[in-house]
Subunit: 509 residues, 2 copies
């Protein structure tokens, strides 16, 4: 590989590793670096640039996570092959596939791939069970009542026979819809069975709502920060995202009002209870303000209620759609966080106006959710197993949250702050300005700890000094150990920063 | 209800009932007839127009099937309420939901609702088990090996425990992907496990391919006639459909070539084996021509292979992607037609170029298919139960097809022709010109027989003198009875037509 025209500006204020990432991105996009070509080894590049090898390591890791290069073990780092990257049209038969597909372009865009590749790491799904997983919003599978479910499944097939393996209805399995509608009614307002639809997890709920409502160029208000895969799905439908910052009471109603005043908004997406990622819950007054602002401008609110059943302290809160003016709200819920994520089952409550278009769109999307798992979940819930499980999960998660925050108080250095939620699965950490959670993550992963860096959750950029910690996957001891390790890394980073920014660029190898 | 300005032109050549449908459509769309308003009773309208009451009945039935009116039992026929119709924006809080959503508009458009409402009837899912169901492409659930599956399910949960109820991979359950890739390799070309993805039935496969490839205004070539829900999903993504007629050897390669020559096409969608709805299979030579034309213009072919395992006679055919030039083809398959539709499982083989974008799009769509059912299906297949079941299904379906065609030879009048497929689930009937299969369907449903009218399957209009008969739901005797009834109705219709078109409009009540 010839010498590359990468130059580093030590006085630019942009961190060195970010400069390296940007230089390589440009070289690859301009084809100065070709698919399959090998990058300089980290050692060689560090030497030639006169920077720390860890700085290059960080840059290469970011390049890999945004899908521009790949590391082959024992061989080096290579520019990703054309047929894994943007050049899909060209790898098709001669002539190309038309103009390449805006959606495809989008799916391959740097921003999308970055979000997705990073997000995937959070799932902890790479089989590294030794690692302390504080990244993903994942329930602890060791608590799953698998044996009870096995018996229920078996009973359902035995009793219902072939009919439950046959095509089901688009709306979902009726007894499950009825059960959910009854259960939700009250705190979630009046929920009519015919307006409650079973979806394949809340992610599909988001996709179907986007399909129903969004056109290219529409504006969607989201929380800043928000659920990273909501950013992904709304962008895939061509939406412009307008993040509204949170305070300790959730989405800022005054700023929402300003946005609604100033531009036409198609949808407001928010998580009023145990917000993902921050864990913040809106009190009643804030809920009323949000609903009033939305109603004033006639903008529907999609309320993601994923964690409503996971309260460990404080008082229950009404859903937005139960408040005056909120009746036309959309409500999303899921079994993935309270029972078995692998069944892919959630629910979506829609205003009756959407009932017919939803049915048509569902038919064209995938006909329906799977009937057997719906019938089994229904039986399981009806027999009281869900409530038994929830009781256990709440006790356990509450204890884990306590273990996490008390470890944080012990181990996290001054200047680091965090939310203390009343429920849900995660809390949100804010670092002193200048401490980068992506860098911390690289350190942490070397120490066997994973968390979710803040950049993932910000539709409008930012979040580099923030991160999300999930407290539901690991047991208390491992949470405490993970927090202790993070605390130690944070102390070191903060000390390094205090010793002066110059060190990173000046210390060679 | 005041007297309506409906006039009938007996000399226009347009059938009376079509004139009535069009008049009401206009009145409803112009708000001269308002939501909730009751239509004249069939008897009164027939009298005031001086037409046969059955003619009005037919018109009202069509109006209902396209979602403009609804019949309330014992009460009459009403214009559908605003909140079930197009006025979604207005039923939201004051101010409306922006410009209403092109997708939503589409989902509510007359054409979409007509297709979808009609299609839904075909599913036979209205619980009328007395009716002889020759409409839906549905396997006979009485053949389902439910007990074997129950045991497998139970074993899988017992052995794998909670892990199988936890989040799974986006690509699908690996052992199932491997099993399918091995099974398909050969007749379907080389199928690599890493390019085979599990989807929620082939309908979701279509949706994901559309999401990957299609932008508003793109052209998609389909067969004419084709699978009705493929028309729906491609249109939902804003595609223009270009139907290519079939002959006895499938999609006409010469006409495909002309289209590809004349305009930019983004995707070709076809079913070379036991095409839905016609049952026609492309011989090798036609396959080669189609693949060559597509390759010449660099247009990817999406091959829907739903029925490949359902052959009752004739020789197996290679998939298009196994032919020279077809390597970049997309291949879709499903368990719904050969095993349990209610599990919603299918597979999609993609060129490696699509692997990464597919993974991102899948994450944003619904994360993954359900893990448990994938693991259970895998175990079920691996134990040989699928092959046992297929053997039984092939024997049974082959006999039913034979029963259907021999009954048709006995009972269908001269001038009616039909395809005789080597496999699949349906055959295609062509009526003498002027005999309307929608009218026949109204007759047939009164006699307790259902089938799928041709208009459903034609993206470009047409098909009024065609219909699809499915031979897999009902047992031989009931098939024979249904065909005898249809034959009798056909005889009467043809005789009526021979006696002169004038009769319909001139005979009062």
């Amino acid at each position: 590989m010839p010498q590359l025209p990468i130059t580093i500006d030590r006085n630019s204020g942009t961190p060195i590793h970010v400069q390296i990432v940007e230089s390589f991105s440009n070289l690859i996009q301009n084809k100065e670096l070709k698919p399959g070509e090998r990058l300089l080894s980290m050692r060689d590049l560090a030497r030639s640039l006169g920077v720390n090898r860890n700085t290059v390591g960080l840059a290469y890791t970011e390049l890999e996570s945004i899908g521009l290069v790949q590391t082959r073990v024992g061989s080096g780092t290579y520019v990703i092959e054309a047929n894994q990257g943007r050049d899909v049209g060209r790898s098709l038969p001669p002539g190309g596939a038309g103009r390449g597909g805006e959606r495809l372009e989008h799916a391959l865009s740097r921003r999308t791939r970055q979000g997705d590749a990073l997000a995937e790491r959070l799932s902890g799904g790479d089989g590294d069970t030794a690692r302390i997983e504080l990244g993903g919003l994942i329930p602890d599978r060791e608590l799953f009542p698998a044996e009870e479910f096995r018996l229920v499944l078996s009973d359902v097939v035995k009793e219902m026979g072939p009919v439950i393996l046959d095509y089901g209805s688009r709306e979902g399995y009726r007894p499950l819809r009825r059960w959910l509608a009854e259960r939700l009614s009250g705190m979630c307002g009046e929920v009519e069975e015919e307006n409650l639809f079973i979806v394949n997890g809340s992610q599909q709920g988001l996709d179907l709502v986007a399909k129903l409502l969004l056109d290219e160029g529409d504006t969607v208000v989201v929380e800043g920060p928000t659920y990273h895969n909501a950013i992904g799905v709304f962008r895939l439908y061509g939406a412009n995202l307008r993040p509204v910052p949170l305070d300790g009471n959730g989405m800022r109603a005054d700023m929402l009002g300003d946005i609604l005043e100033g531009e036409r908004v198609k949808l407001i997406y928010c998580m009023p209870t145990f917000q993902n990622p921050t864990g913040v819950t809106m009190p009643l007054e804030r809920r009323e303000e949000i609903v009033a602002a939305a109603a004033r401008h006639g903008v529907p609110v999609l309320e993601d209620n994923f964690g409503a059943d996971l309260r460990y302290s404080g008082d229950e809160q009404c859903a937005l759609r139960s408040l005056r003016g909120g009746e036309n709200g959309l409500l999303l819920g899921t079994f993935s966080k309270i029972l078995f994520p692998g069944l892919r089952l959630g629910w979506l409550v829609l205003p009756s106006a959407f009932r017919e278009p939803f049915r048509t769109i569902r038919a064209y999307t995938d006909l329906s959710a799977g009937q057997l798992v719906q019938a089994a979940i229904h039986r399981f819930c009806e027999m009281g197993y869900l409530d038994d499980h929830l009781e256990k999960v709440r006790r356990e998660n509450g204890a884990r949250l306590g273990a996490m925050t008390s470890a944080m108080e012990t181990h996290f250095p001054e200047g680091v702050s965090w939310t203390v939620p009343d429920g849900g699965m995660s809390l949100w950490v804010t670092l002193p300005r200048g401490i980068d959670s992506m860098e911390l993550l690289m350190d942490a992963r070397r120490e066997g700890v994973n968390f979710a860096p803040g950049v993932l959750f910000h539709a409008g950029g930012g979040g580099r000094n923030e991160f999300r910690l999930s407290f539901t996957v690991e047991k208390e001891e491992r949470i405490a150990a993970g927090i202790a390790a993070l605390g130690e890394l944070l102390r070191r980073r903060i000390a390094t920063r205090r010793a002066g920014e110059w060190r990173e660029s000046d210390v060679l190898l």
